[in-house]
Symmetry: C2
Subunit: 214 residues, 2 copies
Amino acid sequence: MAVAGKSQTKPAAADSDPFDRSDLKERRRKAVIRAAASLFSRKGFHNTSMDDVAAELSVSKPTLYNYFPTKQKLLYEFHMAALDDGEAALAYAQSAGKNGHQKLVAMCRRNMEDTLSGQGPCAFVADVDSLPAEDRAKVVTRRDRISAGVRDIIEEGNRDGSLKKLDPSLGTLFVTSVLNWIPVWYRPDGERSPEEIVTAFLDMFQTGLARKRI
Amino acid sequence: MAVAGKSQTKPAAADSDPFDRSDLKERRRKAVIRAAASLFSRKGFHNTSMDDVAAELSVSKPTLYNYFPTKQKLLYEFHMAALDDGEAALAYAQSAGKNGHQKLVAMCRRNMEDTLSGQGPCAFVADVDSLPAEDRAKVVTRRDRISAGVRDIIEEGNRDGSLKKLDPSLGTLFVTSVLNWIPVWYRPDGERSPEEIVTAFLDMFQTGLARKRI
DNA sequence: AACTAACTTTACTCATGAGTCAAGTTTCAT
DNA sequence: ATGAAACTTGACTCATGAGTAAAGTTAGTT
């Protein structure tokens, strides 16, 4: 802590009153998540020690354990956040689109915006295999449900004619590949703005890369 | 080793004469790679111990170290194989296509076929962050060159009119997302054949998912 | 001021897993 | 058969890093 103030709280989010002590614990928990997300996405889950996370926050390791019981639960948190995001995007799509095509676009746009905002969940490929069996099962189940939701949308577009006839499962894989890979390469300080990325990707999702046939 | 034969060689590949001892060392090295690839892709690099790899081959851990100096060099091997694949696909594209569009399709087809054959490199997302700095640098350099190659192809298609006008960097990311994610989800015993996958994906790359405008 | 509850830290423990060593074992040439 | 080279193994070492215990510190209360 640089400055000696009367009520010195942790670094804290810029968007919360640092003098408000009421939800201190919750805000510190969030800070741990942010620090871990940053490190995990840069170096990977296994190449980041809890000491690293602690150092990032200028705090000691045991302090972290006041907010998370295990390192794996921290990882679990990221999985859950990512899944929340996916589900939210699907729910939004249902209300925002009138046919399969519109719903698919809405879902992709929403998901990309969440991912690119950084505000959203986390910016790294969550490592399912490092979760304890029970948590992994929960993640896989939710994940499958989300895939099924995307597939339903594609099937709907398939029926109502707004999307071309194609294997809905492969269409889902195609779309989720692109969405899932974004956290791998996206850097907020990169050359392309989130808006540019979203626009370009939505265009490619819809009409591909080939020259339009008139 | 189940059966007591006079010349008992390791499990060995089905496509090589197990009585030929000339290149035994090289074939065993390959066997180690195959075993590791299988485990790494199923459980991840960090969740697989060298003892696991040894057990998969019914061999002891020190034996592995006759074929690889460190676990990280084993990982490096996979990276190199994947990069070889990417470069081969690019080189092939140059000879197989007359314009940007054709080259892009050739490159994608070739890369997917390599990945899906399983014969090719490896079926897991190679973890760059776990490589020692020097090896990581080599991988990143080659990787960047491959990306640049894809971008060149898209730019060519951009100029010659065979591809639509779009940001070549974002086009590259879009395409490589899909290609890179395949090893994550593909299982040889899955419902879709490699041919189906290649066909469907090439179609989506070219004209997207939306209904064609007549 | 004195007390308490909450939080933080230093200094551990302990399991895991990479890599090694020295002692077998097998293969092949003479 | 015998000796040497190559290969394999059980039994280690040693570093790393997750998680903990107990003592110390701080904030807020009476």
